[in-house]
């Protein structure tokens, strides 16, 4: 199982146990079906009181789910670059969070000066791609084959980068203003409450967040297509599976590495602008998103784009639902999920076993 292909058998499914009437696979299928039905009922039904007692209000529950989804989109954008770089180069880039934050600041500066938000997004992507390229050429190529030193170097870079960004942009909070056509809330066709006079209250939700989610899905599909349908993608997948073999077959491995690093860094920068628009930009975000990426790829499986998507979904939802329903330990929840994953399936949900 490599980067992006779907699992042929779900994890843990034993090759059929004949004799018993129902296979393990069918049990899982039934389980997911029931869960989906329950969720659909929660979304569309008018909640009886006992549900409200457990889940506060329909508005709170659905908002938490939607926020979890958009947060997952953001995490996916950051983590996909991280996971690609690791899968290919066995290099844990602990400066990945710094790339995110730098992208956010650059996006802010461009958008603020030109007045065009899209220019900020594009600029951050391009500039961070170049930064990533430089990092690969100047730093990592020199330390090739020494995983530990490469990782240590990224720690050094992230410390310096955080301090220099603090020097330039100080400790203040920045917000990247989104254009008016993206701002505002829209009504979703979901009824959250019925007023006493019979009129219905629809769930209103910030439009920009839906855009974030859509963008993450588009980029995810784009990455998948690139990896599976193009020549470069084929080489990247080959490199993930067996780096030595690829380089022996005459491919310019350095070029592939550089391309992947550039894409990964660019995506982190792009995510920075998106995150800085939906939320805000401040010091400390680098560590936050680095940790989020770490947890997402550990849960999802290193080197797998599909895994990053699944991991992001789990972590994003857990974080938001935790924040609403048990705020005290909500922040710890994501780490609990990580440790449980490691204990049961050390290579992550979509990771290939070693």
């Amino acid at each position: 199982m490599s980067i992006a292909d779907a699992p042929k058998t779900p994890p843990g499914s034993a090759p059929g146990s004949p004799g018993t009437g129902i296979t393990r696979r069918q049990v899982w299928g039934l389980f997911w079906l029931v869960l989906a039905a329950l969720f659909i009922w929660l979304v569309f039904a008018d909640w009886p009181d006992w549900v409200k007692n457990i889940l506060l209000s329909k508005k709170a529950f659905l908002s938490a789910c939607l926020n979890g989804l958009t947060l997952a989109g953001l995490y996916f954008l950051v983590a996909s670059g991280f996971t690609l770089v690791f899968g290919l180069m066995r290099n844990v880039n602990l400066a990945h969070g710094s790339l995110y934050l730098l992208g956010a600041y650059i996006g802010y500066e461009i958008a603020d000066r030109t007045g065009y938000w899209l220019l900020g997004v594009l600029g951050a992507f391009l500039i961070l791609s170049v930064v990533g390229l430089l990092m690969q050429v100047v730093v990592f190529r020199r330390l090739e084959g020494d995983d530990l030193r490469q990782t240590l170097v990224t720690i050094g870079i992230s410390i310096i980068a955080a301090d220099l960004m603090l020097a330039v942009w100080t400790g203040g909070t920045y917000q990247i203003l989104i254009p008016d056509w993206l701002a505002g809330a829209i009504k979703l066709p979901i009824v959250t409450a019925v007023r006493s006079n019979g009129s219905i209250v629809l769930l209103s939700y910030p439009f920009f967040r839906l855009v974030v989610l859509a963008l993450a899905i588009v980029i995810g599909i784009g990455l998948w297509l690139m990896l599976n349908k193009t020549r470069v993608g084929m080489m990247i997948r080959a490199g993930v599976d067996d780096r030595e073999m690829l380089s022996a077959s005459g491919t310019n491995v350095h070029l592939i590495f550089a391309v992947v690093f550039a894409i990964g860094a660019g995506l982190a920068g792009l995510a920075g602008v998106i995150g800085g628009s939906a939320l805000s930009v401040a010091p400390g975000e680098d560590v936050r998103y680095l940790l989020a990426s770490l947890v997402v790829v550990i849960v999802g499986g290193m080197g797998s784009i599909t895994g990053a998507a699944i991991g992001a979904l789990i972590i994003g939802l857990a974080e938001q639902i935790g924040l609403v329903y048990f705020p005290t330990y909500g922040v710890v929840l994501t780490f609990v999920i990580m440790v449980v994953t490691l204990a049961i399936r050390p290579q992550g949900i979509m990771g290939k076993s070693q």
Binding site: R90, D146, D163, F335, V339
Partner: protein
Amino acid sequence: MNADVTQNPATPARNLLARIGTGHLVLAALLLAYPLVSSDFFLTQIGGYSLIFGMLALSLSLLAGYGGMVSLAQISFAGVAGYTVAIFGENNSNILGFGWPWWLVMPLALFFAATSSALIGWVSVRTEGIYTIMITLAVATAAFYFVRQNYTLFNGFPGYTGLRAPIVFGVNFRDPVPFYYMCLVAATLSYAAVLYAARSTFGLTLQAIRDNPRRMRAIGFDVTAHKVVAWFYAGLIAGLAGVLLVWFNGRISPGTINVAAAINVLIIAVIGGLKHPIGPFVGAVMVVLMQTFAIDIVGAERFNTLIGVFFLAIVFFSPDGILGLWGQLRQRLAQEDLRSRQ
């Protein structure tokens, strides 16, 4: 090295003195005499603090240098020990504080630290190599968040205050000189233990596993068990450092074990050098001196850039840290020595 061999003709009787090494004896004499020449501030804030952080870095370098597992969670295990001291010993935060005597609390603290270390080790050795650094970073963060959010056991954000080193046989270990010697003894014990373990069968096996786990497994060694035992020992050292750290600070709070502190331990270990157990202590002295006096020399504002550049330079140019630089220098001198003799 060759020059050394020619200078020390092989004497069959290797007495204790020779085994310890003259360098060690000189160093020991200097460290023992240190309180005679230094102020209280230099004794505790530089001397004691360096020894404590040296021990923390030593526990990391034990795992990284001999086991090839870089852990960022050593400060968390120190935190486990520290919080144990706060919870079972005396504190003045009016929460828990069972007031157990130090000779009961301390072994308990070490036990908890070592056990939790072994547990995290067990989880992380299930994966390979570079994964460890990520998992332990996540574990360190989770530990930080958990103690910050939990009030019933860890007293949340403010943590515990009023944690004092004990008075034993009339010696008050809160005073600078006894405290320094206590740190020195603990550090020496840890240092000697690592040095001894590295040369033991266990240590050699561990290093062989680091270099080629597959082959060692094929020969029939239990790779996982060896690694987990290494984590247990590392946890012991980290726990000892943790107990001393809370006595040093007189307090413990989530800030003591945050990500910055975890990274700090790694920086110390790498700057000093991972190849020899003296490295972490050299690194600790350097970093602590820089941390303390940067504000008087370059100002505190860009201190992190300074330390980051220093760290980067070490990783790039001398992978074995300051010790590595020293080794290179010695080699060059030895060569010049030979040349001048010709």
